[in-house]
Symmetry: C2
Subunit: 78 residues, 2 copies
């Protein structure tokens, strides 16, 4: 069964570039990648924070948040 | 042809956990993952810096460095 990997970003260029590369690099046999634009979809902020997301871009995989580089703190998106 | 993805870390617990999860998540059909312990193998510091690595853990993929969370600055490893 595939695991869901969620990539959170906010539309900044560094986030979008990271998104494309990282999402494409994940094993498609293992992960189903969902991409969430937290700038446009603020209803997902709570879920992102629960998963441990503190800044974007971030990838949540197997219950752990991986912050990739640093685009913006999650507080800036509220 | 497979692309080489290099995961740089320095043996800290956050780095090792990130290493295992991220390295396992990459598409094995696309990437050949090499893991470099910069704490033990200082000869690779120059290559890591040239690739844009500023902190560990970091993943260099397709010519771009992705800093994953923040374990230690590369200066601390010299």
């Amino acid at each position: 069964m595939k695991t869901k990997a969620v990539f959170y970003h906010a539309g900044c260029p560094v986030c979008v570039a990271a998104e494309q590369n990282v999402a494409n690099a994940l094993d498609p046999g293992k992960y189903q990648v969902e991409i969430v634009h937290l700038g446009n979809d603020k209803s997902q902020l709570k879920e992102a924070e629960s998963a441990g997301v503190k800044s974007v871009p971030a990838l949540v995989m197997d219950g752990t948040a991986y912050h990739i580089n640093f685009g913006a703190g999650i507080e800036a998106l509220k």
